[in-house]
């Protein structure tokens, strides 16, 4: 018998550390880290730097764990869609069981460690977020309703609330406003992506709005959600986490976002095909900056407060 029963066939399954890291959806994790950090720093309670760093790290690990569970469950449709076909499981670099084990292991580790480092409420909220993304969104909503993105968006909206709860140990209106900002932003962001990814979701049989209600209806949904988002985003400027800097940024960005949504609404498929969905792609890119800038100025308002500048 050869050494430790190793056979040549296992070579293709020898994943590298980077493959396991890719299972954690690093780009989603970076957004989670950023919004959770803003929630933590915008809260009116100072947290010890080590506790803040460790807590945000465990929130990031929890988010990564839910990403691994999502990739384990969605491996079949990931293989069909062009955008996701190179992910570790469909490309054969990681076995589905490994992703499940990693996801479960990191879920328990992150929740337990957040309970020890911060508080039980923050840990409970992280556990609920992982459950919501992996079970409610990935296993249930994603394949069963065109409202998948709308309700599933809640999973991505929890991190700033967790950040706030890490600092204060309780909920507040400001934390839920940050939640609402991401919750309302998610649908137009993903529907714009669904418009220019064309057949990807059709091929995978995912009931995205573009598949079930058509592209025209998706364009109408984008403008409706963008209007609601703009009201919410500008309105937040008058609360405790807002201030002159936030309000100015929100007015400018929401005007641009509304302009983009209006443009998308007025277009038909012929003109979109003619310029290869340039308007939809531009709106999608703007949506990334939109969220980053809103949370960036909430952070700036909080950072300026000790010097007598931030807030109202």
């Amino acid at each position: 018998m050869a050494d430790i029963g190793y056979s040549a066939t296992s070579k293709e399954h020898d994943a590298q550390l980077g493959d396991y890291f890719a299972l954690l959806k690093p780009r989603v994790m970076s957004l989670v880290v950023f919004t959770a950090l803003v929630g933590l720093l915008a809260a009116p309670v100072t947290v010890h730097p080590v506790i803040a760093f460790a807590s945000i790290l465990f929130v990031a690990i929890g988010a990564g764990a839910s990403g691994a569970l999502n990739m384990w469950w969605d491996a079949d449709i990931d293989g069909v869609m062009r955008r996701t076909s190179k992910r570790p499981i469909p490309s054969g670099r990681v076995q589905p069981g490994e992703a499940l084990n990693l996801g479960m292991g990191l879920s328990f580790l992150s929740v337990m460690m957040l309970a020890v480092t911060a508080n039980l409420l923050a840990a409970g909220l992280l556990a609920f977020t992982i459950f919501f993304y992996a079970v409610i969104y990935s296993m249930w909503l994603k394949r069963s309703t065109p409202q998948n993105i709308v309700i599933g968006g809640a999973a991505g909206a929890f991190p700033p609330v967790i950040g706030w709860v890490i600092a204060t140990g309780s909920f507040s209106v400001e934390a839920w406003l940050m939640f609402a900002l991401i919750f309302m932003w998610t649908p137009p962001h993903f529907w714009a992506l669904a418009l220019f990814m064309k057949s990807d979701y059709d091929d995978a049989g995912v009931p995205m709005l573009t598949v079930t209600h058509g592209r025209k209806s998706t364009r109408v949904h984008i403008i409706v959600y963008t209007v609601l988002l703009a009201v919410l985003a500008v309105g937040t400027g008058f609360t405790a986490i807002g201030g002159p800097l936030y309000l100015t940024t929100a007015v400018v960005l929401n005007a641009l976002f509304l302009k983009g949504a209006l443009h998308i609404w007025r277009r038909d498929e012929q003109s979109a095909l003619a310029d290869d969905y340039a308007v939809e792609k531009k709106f999608f890119r703007l949506s990334l900056w939109y969220l980053f800038a809103h949370f960036g100025v909430i952070l700036a308002e909080a950072a300026l407060r000790p010097f007598g500048f931030g807030g109202w």
Binding site: M1, D3, I4, A15, Q16, L17, H48, I51, A54, T117
Partner: protein, 54 residues
């Protein structure tokens, strides 16, 4: 047959093993730092001996 000290699998997995090792070491350091931060904070109270006995 004796297990050879070095096999191709060892070389190939070296990077992965070193990475896991470093992460575990970082985790130990992090837990230590959290402990220091907790016990040196103002609101930390050492449990009294009577509480521990009861």
């Amino acid at each position: 047959m004796a297990i050879r000290a070095e096999h191709e699998i060892h070389t190939r997995r070296k990077g992965r093993n070193v990475g896991v090792g470093l992460m575990l070491a970082a985790f130990v350091v992090l837990v230590l730092a959290i402990t220091f931060a907790k016990v040196t904070s103002d609101d930390f109270e050492v449990p009294s001996t009577s509480e521990l006995v009861n």
